[in-house]
Amino acid sequence: MESALFYDRLQFATTVIFHYLFPQLTMGLAVLIFYLKSRAYWTHDAHYNDAARFWTKIFALSFAFGVVTGIPMEFQFGTNWAKFSTFAGGVIGQTLAMEGVFSFFLESTFLGVLLFGEKKFGPFVHWTAALMLFLGSWLSGLFIIATNAWMQHPVAYAVDQDGAVHVTSLWGLLTNPWLVWQFTHTMTAAVATGSFVMAAVGAYYLLSGTHTDSAKTFLRTGVVAGAIASTLLLFPTGHGAALQVFEHQPIKGAAFEGHFHTESGVDLLIVGQPNMETLTIDNPLIVPQMLSFIIHKHFGAEIKGLSEFPRDQWPDTMPLLYYTYHIMVGLGMIFIPLMLTAVALLWQGRLFQARWMLWTIMLIAPFPYIATTAGWMTAELGRQPWLIYGLFRTADGASPLVSSGNVLFTLLGFLGLYLLLGLLFLFLFFETVSRGPTVTGGPRSTSAPMY
């Protein structure tokens, strides 16, 4: 069943990457919508209500795709990873079930209120609904990241007599030290995605001279939130994530930095291509001794290289891992100066006239998606060959009786279906944007905007 495993992995990777395109926008927008709704509620400024209503529509669109692609994720633990589920269900069953009970109900119910209930329930409940939506979507992120954090860094478990693991302290599971940086980093990245998209839509309206009032609000909100998020992505959260990788998963760290041989005063590699035959980097561009400094606050510190470790513990796709990590960090280093410049322009009151900046903001919007996807590939490819780090190998996790032909069949089905879904989402997104926000100046006259 060698190749069944390959297709299982490919199917999980494609479906989860595709799924995550949607929650990252919804989790990011949830915060921003809550902010807009709060301004509208406290200042009675209907302009913010209109803005919130427009973004709730985009939210609902992304949410619908997130929900329908999320359900396959949960069920694939059983369908494709039966051995893993049998082994680890005693632990991750907890967090996955908590996600369902504590957050999915909350999100789905209150999105209904936000979309259909403005008139029926009044402004206070409507504001509360925005708060609940924010809470629900972030809790959902928390529980699923707690699941992944446990796979990266298993804690609070014991092995029972038939060889499976079970949780020994729910509190320990939810306060996994790994979770701190993983959750804050991921959530910050979601805010980056949400605010970049909001700013980009604002920039598009300004450049095309439509909806200019709304455009300015979107830009202000998006640029400020985007600048904060981009900065926090590097420090402290990204830095914290990298430190804990070097502490607990030194092989992953060495692999994604492209660091083959143990030495003192390790250079930070900016670009270059890993050569797996010679175990060196071709065409390196480096900052001398910088990696030692970042990880150990000391330029001469020693860092273990890949060759220190047995080859069967290396991630099986080291070059890809190396590239995805550098793509994420590279993009992160572009986002920060860009967004800070935009904020400076905003501060001086020149942002709305700076066409080159508006163009850049508009075109940069897809890149946070690329960075988050690359980041997840870093975390997950770097976890290999372990499914649960140091505890359980990916090769032992797949469903024993599901043949490769059957998995290939469903993989192809998912690919086809998701291609269609992706095109559909883009089409509807642009359609909604081109229709633009409606300015009503008050609660809308109907309670049913969607059908």
């Binding site: 949960e74 369908t79 494709n80 039966a82 680890a88 209930g117 329930f121 024993p400």
Partner: protein, 351 residues
Amino acid sequence: MSIEVLWFVIVVLMFAVFVVLDGFVLGTGIIYLFVARTDAERRLVLEAIGPVWKGNEVWLVAGGGLLFLAFPKAFAAGFSGLYLALILVLWLLIMRGLSIALRSHLQNPLWRAFWDAIFAVASLLLAIGFGAALGNVIRGVPLTADGYFFTAFWTTFAPGLEPGILDWFTVLVGVLTAVILTVHGANYLTIKTDAAVRSRASQIADAGVWLVVPLAIVAILVLPFVQPALRHSYDAHPAGYVLPLITAVALITAQYFRRRRRDGATFFSWSLFILGMLGSVAWGLFPNLLIATRDPAYSLTIYNTAAPLYGLRVGLVWFSIGISLVIAYTILVYRGFRGKVERVPVEEGHE
């Protein structure tokens, strides 16, 4: 009552509530093209389910999560064994969800006609599919000694040692389920709509009942031959006969209220009828989660698949808190949206 039994009850209840709540959405989908002919009528029907369908679907997701928590081995064995059927169900759920969410995004009549058809077809296939899955659980599956199995879509179309996902029995249960949910959806629309849509829906409900009764009788008559174990549970614990009794009474009261045009009471009686049926099945299965066709010793029960004690206990604590919150705000929101759906003014309707 041991904690495993308690978790069995919880998991069964989660799925049962899913069937009742998502059931009327599926039923609405099945009759959608017939009860709602014009665009305005179709939007009315979609508004009737709009605020609630997503929340209803979560009962499935949460139920799956809780099954995973409490009986991880059964989750793993069942889902990998019914691999093909489940993935198909996932694809159908994707199409069903998108059809409701996207249908009214554009004015274009072709766009709307396309999603209308998807909504109807996906709903029908899902209802049959869920029913057939239940049929598999009742009939039993070819579990091996290491606790896994895999079934093809079909083998000989007959229950036996190596059955497929589809055989005459599971298809029968699938069709029965679809008909029951059709009536359920029609009952719901009778409450939520008026004028032409309402009268068509109530006609379908009136007629549908007369299809449910003979199909259910056939299913009950063949049951002892397909899976004798159910009968044995009832013999061992005859108190369970109260469940089929409730089911029968609920069916009669549903008819009683239907005659008197008491829409709400009809809907609730029919919901109780569905719950009663599922409860009766669960009583018969207990303590099995998956019955092995080859050798009863391979059956997966709540005892040989349960997670260790600590997880079950702590799960119970947070689940009680979580589900109380869910029930509280769900009731509040349903109350807020109660009553007939309002007609959307034409100039504003489309968005």
